[in-house]
Amino acid sequence: MSDQHKTSILILDDEPIVSKRLKPSLEKQGYEVETFTVSSEALKRTKERSFDIVITDLKMEGLNGMDFFTEVKATSPRTEVIVITGFATMETAKESFQKGVFDFLAKPFKISEITAVINKAELKIKQS
């Protein structure tokens, strides 16, 4: 696997534990991973470079997840967004899907569950 073909993933969650757990596990599987706990910083990074996949929490201080990924989608429509949230409701799920997220996971989730979603998102990216 050379770096050129690595799928790039940005993770944004205000609780550091989420990135701390996900990053090594995804890197071990060969993904290129950047992590953020502050949404404005993550947004700044997405203006500098695009990511194949963005994984984001919804409820955060400052810019919330919904606004964050809406902006990401506006600048980089090809980026697939996966929402992870501890406040999962039908409404937020529905709204997220309407705004074009690829999938929606309620926290807590298993590492294998998010890996499966990432694999599906990758497949979609490759097909398009």
Binding site: M1, I17, R21, K23, S25, E27, K28, I114
Partner: protein
């Protein structure tokens, strides 16, 4: 369920005068609420427990909301019981307040160590006790209690003792003031440290602490000959050996006469406020109010040689070697770095070959003096250049080191001594801080791992995440647990709870069959042993003695020893060390354990409830009792009828009819089966009373477990139901709610069956038993499998089984209720018979044959 309530409410005369007695419909409504919440609490506890496997990503928000949910539900349970039995169990509120306050304090991040006993013998220190007794004491006790290694005899003076000492002498505020004026620049750090230390040295020990110290000393003396007791007194601060390393900042005293324990204790405690400690805490931002100094008090080892082992060479962290330093006599000079000892570089795998040896001239040895204290003694010339450890000793130390590293899942810094008898004694073990620059990085690993042959992947369920390498040990029916070699990867057909006994010793566990929520999985989590269950055919795919690597993160099993992966795991921060994980485990201590089991025990009281699970259990038991008490023994409500069911099987069942469940004219007292009109109850009884459901083959069990699992809930002579278990069914024409306590296990069935398919449901819950946990979980597995076969949605957590079915037509529902009846009859003593895992399948087959023949 709403419909039933409506029916019940319709029973209420609108002009009914208020009486002191609660009307039955209200009573029953609350009773049903209690059952629903009770089930929900138990299920929540089980799912929270599963989060500790390292397999889930959860955050603080999850912990907070879950605690909130459970406490809200338990409070509701208590209030509902209050409605059923006004003012009878008020003490439950006190227990609830006490427990929920503890949970809140945990969530607020308080140090855990303010409460509990002042001294604890090493043998009495339980798993995960670092917060009570400090890191040093805790790991030493675990090494002795779970790995059977030799440590010095001794006891911990706990964190609670430290806080009591401060409180007794009003030191908290005094120390805070001194620290504050230092931080404001008013006094120098030297002055601050000196003042605080003097306060501690001059302090008076609390009376209870003095007593506890002399009692613990007496117990140490009991184990010894008449020789005067000499001690090693060491610091064991909270957080000392954990994430942050305070190593070497605190005082230790060697060869202290027992009479001087109190003085040495104060000195060690005072060292928590040395200049270096104060400055270090300021530097890393460790809050002063969290300082907790527990102390280790150990019998002094008269060492011939001593030293330190790093299980991973910190300078050359490529994973191949460990570093061992040793000298003659006591190890302090080598440990502190004041003198250099002999150095050995040793391979990390068997046969632990010595790769490099660097001997130094050792002119002196630190030695214990007869009356107390230590002194450097000159060594005879021939000893000076002789290696302080022999080859066999080095191998033994290395093997011990790897065992400890595997147990704690981190490279270790281990202090040891060889005593006069040549016995290896572990004095201390703590995580080793290593330079991570040499360790492999996750992105490089991806490339590396792709070069190793994969034996199988994504087979089975991860019960505990983690990585391990080792040789396969194939566990069969003929295997004996004591033959399982340390460090082996245990491969077995079944996730038998029996295997839990070797958990501390093995590197990983793989099974063909089993559930990630079973008992074995729980124990694997307790010891953080990587564990994959339900792989289907691991026993066929692997060979005995085969060297493999188990990656129970990615769910892959590699051929060969992928040492890079192991090294990566060793240097990574384990999830179990994260704040969130520790917090979850801590709050669960006040939620999950069940201590109240037997309602016949005197200790079955509101005040004895020490966890939310206890309260839940207490409320459930009392709710059933109240219902029977009020409506059978003291018949209150003329709108309901009740009676004891006369059956040809030994089961005492009180029926309470709330609406058309019994034929008119049934009198209080006895109910004949043909008086029952309740549709679901009839179906259940049809299964339950079938002769073959009760006619299992004769069993040979010891009289004890036989007696305690007798199904009859005792004769009517034992007039008060308070002393026995309760079997109760509340019925209406279309509804039945059955609470059974057969022996010591609890079955609950709740079902509603009509012609309207959308209203139909059945809920089944099963919990507990009389025998050991192993057999209980086997029975739970049996029940789970049988019900799944009959289309129930089943969850098994340890010995809790929950099964649901809904929206099935009437005929289908009644058939399932019959199955439940059969099952209750069939399983009443099954745990006694579940002698091996094969029995599970034997009985599943047998039950299925019976079902095919009869239903």
């Amino acid at each position: 369920m709403k419909k039933i309530m409506k029916n019940i409410l319709a029973l209420l005369p609108s002009n009914r005068a208020k009486t002191s007695a609660v009307p039955f419909p209200v009573l029953f409504g609350k009773f049903q609420d209690i059952l629903t919440i009770n089930n929900s609490v138990l299920e929540t506890i089980a799912t929270v427990n599963d989060k500790l496997g390292g397999n889930y990503i959860f955050d603080r928000h999850y912990i907070e909301t879950t605690c909130q949910t459970i406490t809200d539900q338990v409070l509701k349970l208590i209030n509902d019981l209050d409605t059923i039995a006004p003012n009878k169990y008020l003490a439950l509120h006190d227990s609830f307040r006490r427990i929920s306050a503890e949970i809140e304090k945990d969530l607020a991040g308080r140090p855990y160590c303010h409460f509990g006993p002042f001294t604890l013998a090493y043998k009495a220190i339980s798993h995960h006790a670092a917060e009570e007794v400090g890191g040093k004491n805790a790991s030493l006790a675990e090494i002795a209690n779970f790995l059977d290694l030799t440590i010095p005899d001794g006891f911990a003076v706990t964190g609670a003792a430290f806080h009591a000492l401060l409180a007794k002498n009003d030191l908290r505020q005094k120390i805070d003031r001194i620290v504050a004026s230092w931080k404001r620049g008013k006094v120098s750090v030297e002055d601050a440290a000196q003042k605080i230390q003097q306060l501690i040295l001059d302090s008076k020990l609390p009376g209870k602490l003095e007593k506890d110290l002399s009692r613990s000393l007496a117990q140490l003396n009991d184990n010894k000959t008449n020789k005067p007791l000499l001690l090693a007194i060491r610091s064991s601060a909270w957080g000392e050996d954990g994430e942050r390393s305070f190593a070497g900042q605190y005082e230790s005293f060697l060869n202290v006469p027992a009479a001087e324990l109190a003085k040495a204790y104060r000195q060690v405690v005072a060292s928590a406020y040395s200049e270096t400690a104060l400055m270090y805490r300021q530097k890393i931002g460790f809050p002063e109010e969290e300082v907790t100094m527990a102390v280790a008090c150990q019998v002094m080892i008269d060492a011939v040689a001593s030293g330190v082992l790093y299980t991973l060479d910190p300078q050359h962290g490529h994973g191949g070697s460990m570093l061992l330093s040793a000298t003659w006599g006591l190890g302090a000079p080598v440990v502190s770095g004041r003198a250099s000892g002999d150095r050995f570089t040793v391979a990390r795998s068997k046969p632990y070959a010595v790769k490099e040896m660097q001997l130094v001239r050792k002119k002196t040895a630190l030695t214990s003096i007869a009356g107390g204290g230590t002194a450097l003694q000159p060594l005879p010339t021939d000893r000076q250049t002789q290696a302080s450890l022999g080859n066999e000793q080095i191998k033994q130390i290395a093997a011990t080191g790897m065992l400890i590293e595997k147990y704690f899942k981190k490279p270790q810094d281990i202090e040891f001594a060889i005593d006069r008898q040549g016995k290896l004694i572990v004095l201390q073990a703590r995580p080793l801080n290593i330079d991570q620059t040499d360790a492999p990085k996750a992105p490089e690993l991806a490339k590396l791992l792709s070069q190793y042959p994969v034996l199988f992947r994504d087979q089975g369920d991860i019960a505990q995440a983690g990585v391990a390498t080792g040789k396969v040990y194939m566990f069969s029916d003929d295997s004996r647990l004591r033959d399982v070699p340390a460090g082996a990867i245990l491969v077995a057909r079944f996730a038998s709870p029996l295997l839990a006994k070797v958990m501390a010793k093995v590197s990983a566990i793989l099974t063909d069959i089993g559930s990630p929520t079973g008992h074995l999985a729980t124990i694997a989590r307790e010891f953080r042993v990587p564990c994959i269950v339900n792989t289907g055919n691991a026993t066929e795919l692997l060979q005995p003695e085969q060297e493999i690597t188990v990656d129970a993160e990615a769910n892959i099993v590699y051929q060969g020893l992928v040492n890079e992966l192991c090294l990566y795991e060793l240097t990574e921060d384990a999830i179990e060390e994260s704040t969130e994980y520790k917090l979850l485990r801590r709050v669960l201590k006040n939620i999950a354990p069940l201590n109240l089991l037997d309602p016949a025990e005197k200790s079955f009281t509101p005040a004895a409830c020490s966890t939310l699970h206890d309260i839940t259990r207490f409320v459930h038991e009392k709710a059933v009792e109240e219902l029977i008490d009020r409506n059978y023994y003291n018949h209150h409500d003329p709108k309901t009828s009740s009676g004891k069911l006369r059956l040809n099987i030994p089961i005492d069942l009180v029926l309470i009819d709330i609406d058309g469940g019994l034929r008119k004219g049934s009198r209080k007292g006895e109910v004949l089966p043909d008086a029952i009109l309740s549709v679901p109850m009839l179906a259940f009884l049809e299964g339950l009373t079938h002769p073959q459901a009760w006619d299992n083959e004769p069993m040979s069990v010891d009289m004890g477990s036989f007696m305690s699992s007798l199904t009859r809930t005792f004769s009517t002579e034992l007039a008060s139901p308070k002393y026995v278990g309760q079997n109760l069914a509340v019925i209406s024409k279309e509804y039945t709610n059955i609470s059974l306590r057969l022996g010591y296990h609890f079955t609950m069935i709740d079902s509603y069956v009509t012609d309207n398919i959308n209203d139909n449901y059945a809920y089944f819950r099963f919990f507990g038993g009389v025998t050991d946990e192993t057999r209980r979980s086997r029975r739970a597995e049996f029940i789970g499998e049988v019900l799944a076969r009959h289309d129930f949605r089943v969850e098994v957590h340890g010995d809790l089984v929950v099964a649901r079915i809904k929206k099935m037509d009437k005929e289908g529902m009644l058939q399932r209720l019959q199955v439940l009846g059969w099952l209750v009859g069939f399983t009443r003593q099954l745990d006694v018979k579940m002698l091996s895992d094969q029995h599970i399948h034997h009985y599943i087959d047998k039950f299925n044959q019976l079902m095919e023949a009869n239903i």
